[in-house]
Symmetry: C2
Subunit: 560 residues, 2 copies
């Protein structure tokens, strides 16, 4: 190993938030490290901070500027927060994409949707198969999670071995996919010089009890479904193929025909069957057959566990969907947890069903859902099994990363809290922060990518909070007002405290201003703009108690 080479770690997304995972590893001379990118995920916008935005992804400007140094992109699993940005961001990176078969199938759909080439996606078998990418030798290690074929990565470099867990849990009986194999993890720790660096999932670091297996759900779900009399409708994450199987089997065991609703669910099942992940899924019937089945013999498994407005659950909450509808005496089951921030949407769906007379069962008592992430004792078990020299917690908000660091430090592991944009040198005995690069968020807004700081979304939020006033003034060839000022309002109350109309009050004040303003002001666009905005805001504040956004349109007629 040349003394000039260094090993670096740079999270671009997922370190400081749960979502939009993207991690860069580099090895080589400073500033010329060869790079690999692990995951290109999205996160979902909310009305509070990103109204109108379709998807949020990491700002990969740094990686894009150094695209010629990128050897490969690795996708650990097919969750949106790990693969969702691939089609959008790949054109700026243009490196080969490695993933296991099921993940590759979903990655291919992502590339296809954005019209990107499909032949850059390469299917990898799990360890011992090795992908050589510049100075990196990478192996996919099967881990249990809430989607098939999730993988940790072993990243071997001339400076030592990195284990990147990606999302994982310790599940000996995961229903679909490979069980957790402590022997294998122990072997990974004993090979060569052992594990130098562990970059580790932190999502559930605050959950104090050991995680529960997917297999624990079959009993309670079967018992619950067996005693229902009306139609049973269950929702879970579309990608949780193991859960879909458990639910469908419980439905079949209760003598029910099973029908899947929701595009995302069908995509996942199709990919799972086509890649051989899923071999024995119970027979399902299409919606057009389901409508003929007596309610007591029917079970629907639907998308929309987070109350998403366009998903099947919300459609059923509003009325008929593909000919099917919920009725008094039916049961709706959330086999899922509500992700913080999605409560309002979920509660809306629950109450809509309540109005229909549908019994809603959620996971209040933990019987019908288990998490896909390692809890605190599980994380500690992995620390102990792998015995890394360094720990870089990832996939978590700041508070999760901080807590995870503490656990590592208490065990004598050199842990470092590195949020998005932090370049960490892993060459020595301890992680060393060497640089901070610009790392923010990129928005997919309709069909274009915009920066979170471009001001577009800021303007939307301001219009939503304050309303928008458009004031139009026409000046003639002599810079004299032609006619009167014209005001249009949007998102503001027309009626005002004084009883008059807001538009008339603003127009009145603007006309008074135009009548008395000197030529100096009227000739100067900036001064006009400033004065008109001030008047609009002042009158609005007096009359309706709000300071609106203002657009001033000053048209100057020129002598022809």
């Amino acid at each position: 190993m040349s003394p000039k080479n260094r090993l670096i770690y740079l999270p671009l997304g997922g370190a400081g938030e749960i979502g939009m995972n993207c991690y860069v590893f580099g090895y080589g001379p400073e500033g010329k490290e060869r790079l690999i990118v692990v995951d290109l995920g999205v996160t979902f916008p909310d009305m509070d901070s990103a109204p109108g935005v379709d998807l949020i992804m990491p700002d990969i400007s740094w990686a894009a500027e150094n695209a010629d140094r990128i050897e490969a992109i690795f996708i650990t699993h097919a969750h949106e927060d790990h693969v969702g940005a691939l089609g959008h961001l790949w054109p700026r990176l243009k490196a080969p994409v490695y993933a296991r078969a099921f993940t590759a199938a979903i990655a291919t759909l992502k590339m296809e949707e954005q019209g990107q080439p499909l032949d850059v996606i390469r299917v990898v078998k799990p360890r011992p198969e090795v992908v050589e990418a510049g100075p990196f030798k990478v192996q996919f290690v099967p881990v249990s999670h809430s989607i098939p074929e999730s993988s940790a990565l072993i990243i071997d470099t001339p400076a030592g071995r990195i284990v990147h867990t990606a999302d994982f849990k310790l599940d000996g009986t995961p229903i679909v996919g490979e069980p957790f194999d402590p022997e294998e993890w122990h072997r990974i720790a004993r090979e060569g010089a052992g594990v130098k660096v562990l970059t580790c999932d932190s999502t559930n670091v605050f959950s104090p009890l050991p995680g529960r297996s997917e297999a624990t759900l079959a009993g309670p779900l079967s018992e619950l479904i067996a005693v229902q009399e009306g139609m049973v409708v269950a929702t879970t994450f579309a990608s949780n193929v193991a859960r879909l199987k458990t639910l469908a089997e419980a439905g079949r065991a209760a003598g029910r025909s099973v029908c899947l609703l929701g595009r995302a669910m069908k995509k996942m099942i199709t990919a799972a069957v086509e890649t051989g992940v899923l071999t024995d899924f119970p027979a399902i019937i299409p919606p057009e057959e389901a409508v003929e089945v007596p309610r007591g013999n029917l079970m629907l498994i639907v998308t929309g566990s987070q109350g998403e407005r366009r998903a099947a659950s919300a459609q059923l909450a509003r009325g008929k969907y593909l000919g099917l509808e919920m009725k008094d005496g039916d049961t709706f089951l959330f086999s899922s947890k509500t992700i913080p921030g999605n409560e309002r949407g979920v509660i809306r769906v629950m109450n809509a069903f309540s109005e229909m007379g549908v019994d809603v069962i959620d996971d209040r008592n933990g019987l019908y859902h288990v998490s896909g992430h390692a809890n605190r004792p599980d994380l500690e078990a992995v620390h102990d099994l792998l015995a890394p020299k360094m720990l870089l917690p990832m996939h978590g908000e700041h508070r999760h990363l901080r807590e995870h660091c503490r656990i590592g430090i208490a065990k004598g592991i050199a842990a470092e809290l590195a949020i998005n944009g932090t370049v960490v040198d892993l060459t020595g005995e301890e992680p060393e922060v060497v640089e901070y690069i610009e790392a923010g968020r990129t928005y997919l807004d309709g069909a274009v990518l915009i920066g979170a700081m471009d001001g577009v979304v800021r303007d939307r939020i301001r219009m939503a909070l304050n309303g928008h006033v458009v004031a139009t003034v026409i000046l003639d060839e002599d810079e004299e007002p032609l006619g009167e000022a014209w005001v249009e309002i949007k998102g503001l109350s027309e009626k005002v405290k004084s009883g008059a109309s807001l538009v008339e009050r603003i127009e009145g004040e603007l006309n008074e201003f135009l009548d008395t303003a000197g030529a100096k002001v009227l000739r100067n666009d900036d001064k006009m703009d400033e004065a008109i905005k001030r008047i609009v805001r002042q009158v609005s504040m007096e009359e309706v108690g709000k300071k609106p956004e203002v657009t001033v349109v000053t048209s100057r007629l020129v002598a022809e």
Copy 2:
């Protein structure tokens, strides 16, 4: 009792949601019933459904139209969702307002803030004092809740006795205020003909275990605070005077000086002291003294348990507040639960503190907070104690009311699910729905009250989701375009897929339209408006994938 008289119940707010409580009771000939109003509360807006709105309150149009029939307004307790709308809505009802001393003190502040008369507020002592209001005889019955002097109401009418619980829990050791007294409730049930109707809190109907007493918190809170080394900052609801006392005592016991931060908290403590509710609150110091106290000897109790942006907790999360700031090694305690929908704000505060090195402790394990509402077994205990003939669940979302009805029906009580706007006749043996009146929401928006359906907020949401384009066209005396179309955008990306500017692309298309449009279109404002909107949306969709809101300003110059 004249056979023509009837007893009615009409919820205007709080039945179908948690928040903005407002219930009407009436007695008399149909359509001429004399009325009382119980509570005038608010609910808080969110960005998803009511951006820019300051407060949400019930639409009391029906009550306002029948104001001459209203004998009195009763306020059960001083929570915002029971008294917050008083100052705003009283001018439309103009009836005397009855409340116990502490509640009356807060109600007075609400009236004062809106410039309403204060002498209409009348202080009532608890039962056996009786307020006569037309055909109603009303008594205030002390109940335990999370604010002092909460009261149920006994409403005696010629048609029988109603017990309206308002918000309550069963707490034998509530720290501040009167303990739950089962003997007294039993007496209430045995007086006269017993309880005809129970209108009952439903908030915690899904909580399966009996509620815990406020007194159970003193031990865990004291133990927690005693072992901290840095500054301790705790937050809870400002109105939870008992909790403030427990927290302050735990701080004092640990040798810490206690300082309260946040206007709402000071208001509540002042009202509690002035009305004699609070007699032995530990000594507190002002912020200017607190800055001089060593961190290890200081405790702050602050507002903002829900992550509200302007509250003291959020201010401290952003940096210095009144000279005080959080540092590495300090502890921040949420002695509160997060109300569903507020998760994002709370998590934001937690992560900001994590970045400062502050340890955040929340109520994950239920040690540091108890609810102020009756859980399912507590509700059942009250049903059993009062043995009402009818049950009208209130203060709950639809799903809570529905579940509460089920419990009542299982006990043989005639229960009816009546949401806001439902007129229920309580005269006979069972509740009978007789009418639905218009009952929606009124928004306080800046300084004016607007209807939820007025379109103002709808336009704001649309601008936030889609952006706003303003297109200006000037036509001369001959209806010919004068100059070119002028476009301004707000909340839309300027750069487009084709590489050009969005504004230029739209202006280009509009100018082409103006050049080719016939006089028939140019002369017709509606046709112009429609055509321009269509073009703007079409170009925007093509170029940025969004259909914006459009305001068209067509100025027609007239011959002078």
